[in-house]
Point group: D2
Chain length 290, copies 4
């Protein structure tokens, strides 16, 4: 059985009670659905139940639309309200990437896409500087340069332009790959749960600007990176993935920047993959990553 | 809800097919069982299905014996044969530890038990040298010194004595905490699935004797440790847990031994905990650790 | 050559300039001193030079006192003022440990001492609760229970008592092994550079109380621990060592506490070893750890 | 002071004795040389001494050629014979990369070069398959396709062609970036100390073919990668760098391949950087990496 066989993915959350697993699995079993991966989690603190299930598409007698309709009734009965979705691994995910001048995360994502590891439909890269246009276009991806002025009006206008460039693709993920601009609240809202940022520190340490300088000044022995959903509060959104790397006294700020880049790339790539595979369920400010 | 609330733990494996999750969860739901933790895994390569479920004991209308009887029917229907068990977190696990002269793993386990972190019934420590008797007894645990001769007959006799000292406690785990003797095949068989060893290398590298010397000679940049079930083939049993630590050219063999001890302690403690919580399911030579 | 052969250790810092290495090494060479380990570091940001050298004691024609006297002249010429020391690995380091109720760090240190890994002269353990008395005494170490009242006067008096119990041993290290009391400024001053704390978070994240609860609330994917010198500003002293361990959504606060303990023990043991071997040189708020 | 200021790098090894550090540092001090980074190591087992020093080029009154000549006398006096070299960070390192079909390591290196992180003169990429030509050329680097036949004669001829394509650039590093052909002994010899391979396992485990399949079959809990110098004995050359990543029962071989790639990329990039900065000193089968 190939791991690339088409699957329907059910992500689901509801208040915990008895019979949920039975309810969902019986629904799937009734139609002969073959579950190939399943995760369950009960958060005892909040009393919330989470599950994610992958069902072989060919094992069900109907398609994604009918599955969605039929499952809606199960979800309603279990009190899930809007905390569920059903997706199809056969549909390639649409992605838009926002960048500035620093290219390491973009290079990394382009390399993953180019080598076939990350099978997504990268629709566009948008930069507030033109620097990363050539490498983007060398990979056959459209690049849009949207200059950002310094005064608020120019900035607002630039964001309007970014918004329309992004929204025309209705992307599953908007990736802020070291995009050095703070999204305005209305974009945080519009892209809630779809906009991912990579922050170059192990949050909550060193939120805000120049985290490697902060890390150097504090004399920490590990530096890190954090992939999180963008919310209106800066660097405070739900965390999807984090990792760290060891540094010591021989590392100056430039060394930290260099070593940190490797962690930023890894953490962003892992976070994005988990997001696109519908593995991330958000509840309050925390995430379950199946 | 306290995490120490009493639970029944179901561990289960069978050939994969549709309807297994539904079958098990419906059985639990039928009696109002409250599942507080559940893991599911399908090994696509071998076509084998694994699950582990924790059900609140008080949510069921019967005790462990009746659960076991009733579940046996479910297991039989799903073709599990003997690949399942039901256990009770309210029963403290019985443990016997075998040691030689090196005390770091024993010290660590005694510390975890003494500080309440590892809540087990440590019945006895058996050593082929007397060195670790005093610290064992300072923790209020019986220590047995069983000297091992060098000739085969003396060794066989010593193993007989160890066997009877161990078996009288019918332990859930026999821990070889840097016990430097190779178990004879009949003991590997008798204690199959219950005897855990900590090997001081990242297996399969450096199996056999003096792994840190081997690691030093090969010039590796990380050293490790492996907790595995003991089988008749030396250092080749199913692996439960492994970890590594970085070394460099400044570390001589003595440094590796010292740094490696920290990894041995961690890996053994994690492996033992997983085993005692019935989180480890063995299939062929590989483990699922829920 | 045994690594336990007696050595003189020179730790030294001064403003960077040319000729320092030459000056120090020529001094050592002049008397036939055999350098078996040497670290050098220039901090470009602050223009400060650091070195640590281990010289075989038997390779020099004089003892520690004369070495100290002779080296003082070299240090003065290089502008080191008081930023240097010369120590003798043949003198066992004196240690006092302060504890409260949580025993995991104490158990770990006692185990390391008991198994011979950490060869120090542990003079006393002092607890503001009596709980850890028995295990301390089982290892043959004196335990002092100093109850801490809640009102400031009682607290001040208790600290006076702790101070005199500590100071009578003139310890090389005072280890706060999860001692839950904040040292008063005068003790921070009196024990500057000798008092080590283990904080149960990856500082500067989650300074202050209940760091695992803070970590859980923020939804971080790694938790950590920090060993640092105690200074008057809480949890802000120079960091000696840090490490982290991965957690995920299945870990509640109790799991984080349990997993975090393993990191606390490791980080404290490594930090203490580095300190006792005179490997840690402090400059401003950062450390060089050779 | 910028870290990119031009430096002369002295790498040096000789039998250990007293006075080496003094000899070298006095030589540098005599001419006012400013040492900005220095590493020293004595391997007690083999009695061999290693050092690496970075001296600011502008602090010396002569250039690299005269430094080399003058230092030769010092080296001879200390018995170093040919175990030393002096290099100039102002000279960009020449690199040739050999690839097959798998592009992740090449993508990664091209990204590092393109983003300015790895400042090398990549002269050519040579592939035994044409697949990675377009991405190479998109980065402005010449790509040569050298088809490898299956019979020994065709293979030998292909290797001759590769050899001449490589040798015309006199490269400081020949990088086997998942080049799936075993170098013939004469090339191992000709490129000794300059040919680096990335092996997709934590050597010495799983040397040879299909290491991820071997790792899966053995059920290890961590997989790794190894960057080593190529020698005539397959996968047995001196190790420069290694790292690992955690896997569990949910990872099938394809997942291991995907996760392993991230480690391969990191380990190769780190190993290559260390090599190009003359940080790696080989003695017998082990490396010192300053």
């Amino acid at each position: 059985m190939s791991s690339s066989e088409r699957r329907f993915v059910i992500s689901f959350g509801c208040p915990d009670r008895t019979g949920i697993v039975s309810g969902i699995s019986s629904f799937i079993a009734e139609f002969g659905g073959w579950i190939v991966e399943a995760g369950y989690h009960t958060d005892i603190e909040t009393g919330w139940f989470f599950t994610r299930q992958e069902v072989l598409a060919d094992s069900l007698p109907f398609g994604i639309e009918e599955l969605r309709e039929r499952f809606a009734a199960v979800a309603e009965e279990l009190g899930s309200e809007s905390s569920w979705r059903v997706s199809d691994t056969g549909e390639r995910r649409r992605v838009v990437i926002l960048v500035s001048k620093d290219g390491h995360c973009l290079h990394d994502l382009l390399g993953r896409i180019g080598s076939g590891e990350l099978d997504v439909d990268l629709r566009a890269v948008i930069g507030n500087h033109p620097d990363l246009g050539p490498i983007t276009e060398a990979h056959g991806i459209p690049f849009h340069h949207v200059p950002f002025g310094k005064d608020p009006a120019a900035k607002a206008e630039a964001f309007e332009q970014v918004r329309s460039l992004v929204d025309e693709h209705d992307p599953n993920a908007i990736v802020l790959a070291r995009f050095m601009q703070v999204l305005p609240p209305e974009l945080c809202e519009a892209w809630a749960g779809r906009a991912l940022n990579i922050h170059h520190s192990f949050l909550p340490s060193f939120a805000g600007a120049r985290p490697y300088h902060q890390a150097y000044d504090r004399g920490v022995k590990l530096i890190g990176a954090t992939c999180h959903y963008v919310t209106a509060e800066l660097d405070a959104g739900p965390i999807i993935e984090q990792d760290v790397i060891r540094v010591d006294h021989t590392d100056d700020v430039a060394d930290m920047v260099r070593k940190g880049r490797d962690i930023e790339k890894l953490v962003l790539a892992r976070g994005l993959r988990a997001h696109l595979e519908d593995r991330v369920l958000v509840h309050n400010r925390r995430t379950v990553v199946f």
